[in-house]
Symmetry: C2
Subunit: 427 residues, 2 copies
């Protein structure tokens, strides 16, 4: 008998029929003899509707009151799901975040969980209940309700899985798992059987966010086994686990595109210590999420351009901040570009395989795709290109790194002979 | 500087525009220098919508989960009202029932408040905030959310007014105050300046429920001054206060009709001790709210009919219960009548004035209205008549007791001479 934490997103609980479907799925797991803790988001558009309602009375609503308002979305979902489970004959009990023992810092709209005290959940499980917890919310030290920010329900699920020492934290999504790239762009995109936390993190930080980064980070640090699977289809999903040796043999795990980016360049910045720090501190203070940063100084003391990308929605605000900074750092001015996309390839195998970047760049060059920026991390290479070529670039790279084929795994056979085997049986 | 508790019902906060209107009204009171605690219900049809949503997944939803669900209605209202107040430049903070320190017994859907611990409200008031409290909800000893049942928001307001020693508990309604009778039936119906708790209670227990009975009862026992006034019009309402001597001079304060009644008669019941108790215990166990009971035994040991009225919606259930009891008490059978209405006149002046009942009966008899049942209390006389004659009876009695005219008050002048004065100046 195992303990599963199952998380269902807003799309999975969009309406009463969806919730009844989720109830049947939860009930099936329970009937196999497992303990189940369910974390749910607000129903479908509920959160957006609440935000719209707030804006009707106040264009700039107070963060504390927004949390008070938004928390009702998840509270509704948990109650309705409990009722749907009762209708199936299941024992189930719903809990708000505070009731479930989710404590968080006093930061409205984007609090971090500080402590999980799941006594009430444990008692309810012992009494044979399925426990349904409102995601996305917690109690701060002032006994105020705080929400955990975008994707916060993922964080609730992982934190609970950790605190309860659950066997697995399962994320039910409107996809069947994690794919090598967006199947809408590349029909041959393949679902992965497994992926490492680090690869998942790099994918999560790109456009195709399947799991919230903070949640994956936490899972990695606390060794919580994650699984991404479909809430609609009944098939195995993608396991997100600690890295195992054979994973390195997969050079590129996936390709991702983020078309919601804009690029800002500050021209001819003098190369003095602290200049870059000053610029990005100003942006951070304005809560602007800077993604890629490229600075290339050819020789000490010379002038160089600094470029960075921000979410397209933050561009106007970023330009305002930079306009203040430009004269302060004696820069020559600034330019910006909205028509850009970031294309990334990710794989922990890059660490042990060389020449991947060169292979990526030349595949793109062969098709006449111009690179505006390049940035690399240990397991990711990202390039910025014109948005118009984004889909084409994804297709080129998916083909180049043969992601449509099951990865081949090098197995060190006991006799010392090396065998090559396909890991995905009949996938 | 006074402290007011203001309660706004669902109709007053039906949509964002209504909430903005309420915000302006609350803000005006605050700007006069008063402290304000606001209690709000769920927005318009929110509660009904939530109940309908629940029934879509479970025809008979669990009471605990219904409370979890329904509590979101008021939580939404308080947040939105706080935002609307912020938009006006006011300092305001919303609180759930539990945050406001409303503790209740662990009875879902109809809990009673057991304790009010308003420390958080007091601190917020001291900090200059308008405090907005979610009505209808509290926290039970198991830290579960419970709702207070129908009209529970009225109870929240009165309990808070008491705990905070507020100067007045104001109920904003879609009427401008308490009327001598329903103005839709009698256009000459007059709004009262004041009414005693007892008279209000008798009126509340009849069809025209303006304030919830439990709330009035509590206010009476704890001397909380109540006021009923309009949330839409800006004029004085009706004060509900402890009885003062001069009130006795008003013989009949108001006329009320309840057309949602049905009458059940158990025929020829033997007059043995405990028989009536057995019948009404059985009805109480089935949660049927019996209103009037009439039993008339002509001589010891004889057979007599027992009649009682119940809400029309409970008739089927009541007949089922009585059908079981009839053979047990060796009764001759039962009859029932659905086409009946209860007409009542109320006034604490009845205590000191005789002949009121006779005057009521003959006024009705003069117009050919037949009385099926009569029941009297210290300050109320009720008769059961055919529903078809209900409106006519109300008009007859309103005229008979001159309720369209301002009450005259007998003032004992210092010199010992008695003056008669109209209390309502130009009303």
């Amino acid at each position: 008998m195992a303990l599963f934490v199952q998380k269902y997103g807003g799309a999975s609980v969009a309406d009463p029929a969806c919730i009844q479907h989720v109830a049947r799925r939860v009930w099936r797991t329970r009937q196999l003899g497992h303990d189940v803790v369910v974390v749910v988001s607000a129903m479908g558009d509920a959160t957006d509707n609440l935000i719209a309602l707030a804006r009707q009375v106040n264009p700039n609503p107070d963060a504390r009151e927004m949390d008070m308002l938004l928390a009702t979305g998840e509270q509704m979902s948990v109650a309705i799901l409990a009722m749907a489970l009762h209708a199936l004959g299941a024992k189930a009990v719903s809990m708000t975040g505070p009731q479930a023992g989710i404590f968080a810092e006093p930061v409205h709209r984007k609090a971090k969980i500080t402590r999980v005290q799941p006594d009430r959940i444990v008692s309810a499980l012992k009494a044979g209940h399925i426990v349904i917890v409102a995601g996305f919310q917690g109690l701060d030290p002032f006994e105020d309700i705080v929400t955990l920010g975008r994707g916060g329900s993922d964080m609730t699920a992982v934190a609970l899985a950790w605190a309860l020492q659950a066997d697995r934290c399962q994320f039910y999504k409107d996809v069947t798992g994690v794919f090598t790239t967006d199947p809408r762009i590349v029909p041959e995109a393949r679902q992965m059987d497994e992926i490492s936390y680090d690869e998942m993190l790099e994918l999560a930080s790109m456009g195709a966010e399947v799991l919230q980064s903070r949640a994956v980070e936490f899972a990695k640090n606390h060794a919580v086994r994650l699984e991404v699977l479909s809430s609609f289809e009944d098939k195995p999903g993608t396991l997100v686990t600690a890295e195992v040796g054979t994973m390195e043999n997969v050079v590129v795990r996936g390709v991702a595109a983020d078309k919601e980016q804009a690029k800002v360049t500050i021209l001819k910045v003098p190369d003095r210590p602290g200049i870059a720090a000053g610029i990005f501190q100003a942006l951070a203070q304005a809560n602007i999420n800077v993604d890629m940063i490229v600075l290339n100084v050819s020789a000490q003391g010379q002038l160089a351009d600094i470029s960075f990308t921000v979410p397209a929605t933050d561009l106007a605000q970023a330009l305002k901040v930079v306009a203040v900074v430009v004269p302060e750092v004696s820069s020559a001015g600034m330019t910006h570009d909205q028509g850009i996309a970031k294309i990334s390839i990710v794989g922990i195998g890059m660490r042990s395989h060389s020449g991947i970047a060169a292979r990526m760049f030349s595949a793109l060059a062969d098709h006449g795709i111009d690179l505006h920026m390049i940035s690399t991390s240990e397991i990711k290479i990202s390039v910025v290109i014109p948005t118009a070529q984004a889909d084409e670039a994804v297709r080129i790279l998916h083909r180049e790194f043969e992601l449509d084929k099951p990865p081949t795994v090098v197995v060190d056979a006991p006799g010392g002979k090396t065998q090559v085997a396909s890991r995905d049986q009949g996938a």
